[in-house]
């Protein structure tokens, strides 16, 4: 497993995870540490508690329970003893670390004037291990770019189906180009540091050589900033849904910029019920709709539609996300 993740773990927990069998260790998706509750790991094949000896178990009372000291150590390691440098991260509830992995945080929230100010007494950690799967988007490119031209794309999927992975790879492919495809300038507005996984402003995932990233920037504002200053040919934005997002998208489209974006949902009907998205769809903004599910593992392609809602045939129908 990745060394930047080992660095976050106190020695005691590190020892337990080192004893895990290889087939689990190499497939880890999440490591969950909760104060006073059993240590848990999650892989695509299931979830297990971990005993103090580093065995997997299904019995929650056999699991090793981290105490307050261990959680304190973990927070020190994650923050590098510098909570003041994580003000924004504590407000949002997660930290992006080297390698593009993310640590979600839970605990007691301090509120000021109705807004979350920061987290105190962090007692829950969720280390989400990011795996960039290069090349997942490539087989889709001919469908996404008829006659080699960019078309606006909306990716629809429930969480954990490989939406962000696919979006990242599409951005990379468009930015790098392929033998049959011209490379283009790409601008990523990465509000939650998920697409590029920036640390200190530098993308930790490969998002292509001609890609600019606005990290941690609100989407609507970020799209306008990108258009004004970086002249992208393709804008990549994660999870649109608010009113101001759709307004910014109209602005972008009319400025001649293309857009790849995603939305949470299981089907076209579900997405059409959301007012901000419904308007975009009615106006025919998107030229392609791609619906993902987890039916045959993450990255299963449920359906691909063109702008007039005609179903298109996809080869393979499953990406190795």
């Amino acid at each position: 497993m990745n060394s930047s993740i080992w660095q976050l773990l106190p020695l005691s927990i590190k020892g337990m995870l080192e004893n895990l069998p290889d087939r689990i260790r190499s497939q880890l998706e999440e490591i969950r540490v909760r104060e006073g509750r059993p240590l848990e790991v999650i892989t695509p094949n299931g979830a297990w508690f971990i005993t103090a000896e580093g065995r997997t178990t299904n019995q929650s009372d056999e699991g090793y329970r981290p105490n307050r000291e261990t959680c304190g150590k973990m927070l020190n390691l994650i923050s590098h003893h510098s909570l003041y440098a994580l003000e924004e991260e504590l407000r949002r509830g997660y930290v992006t670390i080297q390698g593009g992995h993310r640590v979600g945080l839970a605990g007691r929230v301090v509120v000021e004037r109705g807004q979350v100010k920061h987290l105190r007494e962090v007692t829950g950690f969720n280390i989400r291990i990011a795996r960039q799967v290069k090349g997942v988007g490539e087989p889709l490119i001919p469908m996404m770019m008829p006659r080699g031209e960019l078309v606006n794309l909306l990716l629809i999927s429930p969480p954990q189906c490989g939406k962000t992975t696919l979006l990242r790879d599409l951005a990379r492919v468009v930015s790098a180009g392929t033998p049959s495809l011209l490379s283009r300038k790409v601008g990523i507005v990465d509000e939650r540091s998920e697409i590029a996984g920036c640390v200190g402003g530098v993308p930790q995932h490969d998002v292509g050589p001609r890609t600019d990233v606005l990290d941690g920037c609100p989407k609507a504002e970020g799209m306008m900033m990108m258009i004004r200053s970086m002249s992208p040919e393709l804008l990549v934005v994660d999870e649109i849904g608010r009113q101001e997002d759709s307004e910014a998208i109209f602005e972008a489209i009319h400025a001649g910029v293309h857009l790849y974006t995603t939305a949470h949902g299981r089907s076209m009907e579900e997405v059409c019920r959301r007012p901000a998205l419904a308007r975009l769809i009615e106006e025919g903004v998107f030229g392609r709709y791609l619906i993902l599910s987890r039916a045959r593992g993450p990255g299963t392609i449920d359906a691909l539609f063109d702008g007039r809602m005609n179903r298109l045939q996809v080869k393979g129908e499953s990406l190795s996300c």
């Binding site: 106190p10 150590k73 927070l75 020190n76 003893h81 510098s82 909570l83 440098a85 003000e87």
Partner: protein
């Protein structure tokens, strides 16, 4: 002749003791001032730069001279190697370890250790407050040390010499 040489030796050694004592009075405010300088830097790096604490410590260790240098160097080392023990413990260990090499006194040590309790564990506004409080406290100690310097530095030197003279007269 031998007697004369002995007398000279006594005089020399007692003056040396006096000068040594005087030096500690002169060095103490200087070292406090140096510490204050490092704290000003720490404040900027934390409140404006928001850099990581271990990086700041390393940076300060490169800029400053001993004993401040070794304090921050040790602290940086402990922060990055001690399996996430609290920032306070790292800082306290560093202070305890370098203390024998400094000429500062107990009140400054107390200020420094007390400051360690708050280091790194809150947001920027709060960190700034604590650093400023530590700076004020160090400033008070500095003026006290300066006062002592003017009062005792010369006195120690003359006392050393005079004590030597006295002993020589008595045993001559």
């Amino acid at each position: 002749m031998l007697k004369l040489m002995g007398a000279a030796l006594i005089l020399l050694s007692s003056s040396a003791v006096g000068f040594q004592a005087a030096r500690s009075y002169a060095e103490r405010p200087r070292q406090i001032r140096q510490m204050l300088g490092a704290f000003a830097m720490l404040e900027t790096e934390i409140t404006y730069g928001a850099r990581r604490l271990d990086e700041i410590c390393n940076h300060l260790a490169q800029r400053e001279k001993d004993p401040v240098r070794s304090l921050f160097a040790r602290c940086a080392e402990y922060l990055s190697t001690l399996d996430g023990v609290s920032t306070y413990d790292c800082w306290k260990r560093a202070v305890e370890e370098i203390w024998p090499t400094t000429l500062m006194k107990a009140p400054e040590k107390e200020v420094l250790i007390d400051f360690g309790k708050t280091l790194g564990v809150s947001d920027r506004a709060d960190q700034m407050q604590h650093i400023q409080r530590a700076k004020t406290n160090l400033g008070t100690e500095e003026s006290r040390a300066l006062e002592e310097q003017t009062r005792y530095e010369k006195m120690c030197r003359s006392l050393g010499v005079l004590a030597g003279v006295l002993i020589v007269i008595l045993i001559y």
